[in-house]
């Protein structure tokens, strides 16, 4: 038996694989021509710096989606992290310990999501929505009802400043952190058996299980990864702002969703992957930067966000048919 259907590489296939990248190139070209400030290296690096938070959060979400779940709580968990790390630092907890504790809290949130959605098999939209709402509570508890932790991040925090505001040469440290996280995430998802099993569980749960894959466990782990990375993105957020603020992370959820779904249309065949997610996040960052440079009013951003999420999901749905 010969395989008679070779992978087609016609024009349609090219558009499907590289269409999103092409579109991104067109947008850049348009911006470069209409707003010359756009292609200043300093502006481009600034875009990268701004993308870092969403990029890391979206990497986590990529795991949840790849394994057949979804995670609405990432924005909320990130906000909790900003508040919690500020609360710890203000109380003079050593910074490394504070970071680890906050990441552990993120893991716990992910574990709870896994309990609802992987173990008890509650629909992910509902299960993670519960977490999303529930973690608002502790935020207000920590601030004592206010919207911020008083005292910023406490006394001088060189490490936090370095992460959030530092530069290595012209390159913002935050962007480097994102790339580092993405590189590790990419390896785990695409190069390890665990990553392969996550895709399998997301692709066809029954089939994966008959191959001896514990689909519950891998989905659960995906939620935990998602929680940890959400907490990580919150830490970066706190470092950049120099404070912890209640509910600050929620708007990022939409951007992360758009990044993941846009990303699943990049190069590979219609499934979420880390490289694509990062490209998607950068694409979103470029668009927002462009809107700013073009002096778009505030409400325009909301409208645009909605359109992007819709377009991203529609594009990826079209691909995976």
């Amino acid at each position: 038996m010969k395989s008679n259907e070779n992978v087609r590489r016609g024009a349609g296939d090219l558009i499907a694989r590289y269409g999103t990248l092409g579109l991104m190139a067109l947008v850049c070209l348009f911006l470069a021509i209409s707003v010359p400030a756009f292609i200043q290296p300093s502006n481009l690096f600034d875009v990268l710096r701004q993308v870092a938070v969403v990029g890391i959060m979206a990497c986590g979400l990529t795991y949840a989606v790849a394994a057949g779940g979804f995670d609405l709580s990432v924005g909320s968990v990130a906000a909790l992290s900003t508040v919690f790390v500020a609360w710890l630092l203000v109380r003079n907890v050593p910074v490394l310990a504070a970071l680890l504790v906050v990441l552990a809290v993120g893991a716990a949130c992910g574990w709870a999501n896994g309990l609802f959605c992987a173990r008890l098999r509650i629909v992910p939209w509902v299960g993670t929505l519960a977490t999303m709402l529930a973690v608002v509570g502790p935020q207000f508890m920590l601030t004592g009802g206010g919207s911020q932790i008083p005292g910023g991040l406490g006394p001088k925090q060189p490490l936090m400043d370095f992460l959030g505001k530092g530069f290595l040469g012209p390159v913002p440290v935050a962007a480097l952190v994102m790339l580092l996280v993405a590189a590790v995430a990419e390896i785990v998802l695409s190069k390890t058996a665990l990553g392969q099993h996550m895709y399998a569980a997301g692709g066809d749960r029954v089939a994966a299980e008959t191959c001896g894959i514990d689909s519950r466990r891998v989905l659960w782990l995906a939620y935990i990864f998602s929680g940890v990375l959400a907490a990580g993105s919150g830490l970066l957020m706190a470092a950049r702002m120099g404070l912890g603020q209640v509910r600050i992370g929620e708007p990022y959820l939409m951007d992360a969703i758009a990044a993941v779904f846009l990303g699943s249309t990049v190069i590979k065949e219609g499934r979420p992957h880390i490289l694509g997610t990062i490209v998607g996040a950068i694409f979103m960052g470029i668009m927002f930067n462009g809107l700013t440079l073009l002096h778009t009013p505030y409400w325009g951003f909301y409208l645009f966000r909605g359109i992007m999420v819709f377009a991203a999901v529609a594009l990826s749905g079209f691909r995976s048919r």
């Binding site: 395989s3 259907e5 070779n6 992978v7 190069k191 390890t192 099993h197 692709g203 065949e269 995976s320």
Partner: protein, 509 residues
Amino acid sequence: MHDPPSTEQRVLAMHNISKDFPGVRALDHVDFSLHGGEIHALVGENGAGKSTLIKVLTGIYACDEGCIELDGREVHVRSTRQMQDLGVACIYQELNLIPHFDVAQNIFLGAEPRGKLGLVRWSEMYREAERLLGTLGVSLDLRVPVRKLGFGQRQMVIIARALLHNPTIFVLDEPTAMLTRAEIGYLFGLLERLKEQGVGILYISHRMEEVFEIADRVTVMRDGKNVASLQVAETNPDQVISLMVGRQLDDMFPKTDLEIGPQLLAVGGMGDGALVQDVSFEVRAGQVVGIYGVLGSGTAELAGMLAGDRPLAAGKMLVRGEPTTFRSPHHALRDGIALIPKDRRDEGLVLSFTVRENMTLAGLGRWVSAGLIRSREEKAVTRDQIEALNVRTYGAEQVVQELSGGNQQKVVIAKAMLSQAQVYVFDEPTRGVDVGAKIEIYRLISRLLQGGAGVILFSSELPEILHITDRVMVMFRGRMVLDKLTQQTDADELLMYALKGEASETDVS
């Protein structure tokens, strides 16, 4: 139970196995044994419990009672992985592949070669996959996602996956249901080789001729019980069938002669620009048109085109004399053409729906008044269909996912019948259904004909084609090479045309 002949090793013994599902006792104190170097066939009607028995063996289901011995030692089955490590490999009735994974990834699913840090060693994986397929004598592009492969090729991927672990027990649940003759021959060769190597093979099939061709022993199940285990050499198909159904079956192919009515569907010069070329024929009321061809001859594509699943590149289609084009199965159905697809799991059913919901999905409009479903009527109709097709289910509200494979097939057929089409396109309707249901399906076809419908039957079973069609056509490399009244042809002629595209002078008598 009788002792095994000769010195063969008993590699598997299942004692007193029982398994209950809500509402049914799927296995009722079943004993079963398998020797190394033996092919043991397991037969029984749809829902008899065959698949459940092997799922207990492979660790998918835990049994409620009984014990399993491998090589004389009792094992406590905890997971599929454990049984796999103990040398039990299985090909399930449903092809379990991850559609967007490629061939090699699917073969190694759950058993990826890993290096340090759990990293997958991709190059080793592709090399091994290549080697493995080589020993099976199959050449496949390892990097093609399996959703782009045909059934036969997918089956090979699954077989390669099963053989990856050098099993001592190899279980196949209806592996031939989707295969062509040539592919079946190939599979049998492979099984003979494994048998010589001492592998114990458990083989489930509904096809008697297969059982008598390759099996050494046959075990018959009925209603969750083992009713007999026999040496194949000491029995015959009739005995096995009567053990299976618990009664004698006489009329395998009921056929009533009907007036041929007006033309319902005509196609002229139809083609898709690649695999189907210049096909013309017509279907009349009360007529069964059979289309026969080997895999790759274009029959599958033609079926897809007739049902609106595949675009036409050339030719025209007339429905009751009116020209029409379909862009989707929905359009086809609106014009009164219903397809009963062969891949029931992917195309035919919504697995999470109940039997009733599935059956009435296509024709729901009929039970709606003022926007509301008249559920009493809907339920009554569903009950009738369950009875007519003898679907083994504890009720109309059972989720179809829980039905046995053959019973799912019956639901697909019931669904199409309720869509009130005028032309029914059956694509291998009797694959995977038991003998009793086969007859029921033929009866239903003849009932459809009496109701003034026309039927197009794609089938790879020559007896079926010869017995229930009025007209038969043979496809070869995308073209119709033969079109005759069924009475004027025979199996040899059909086969000749299907394989060669013409009758070779020397062979025709």
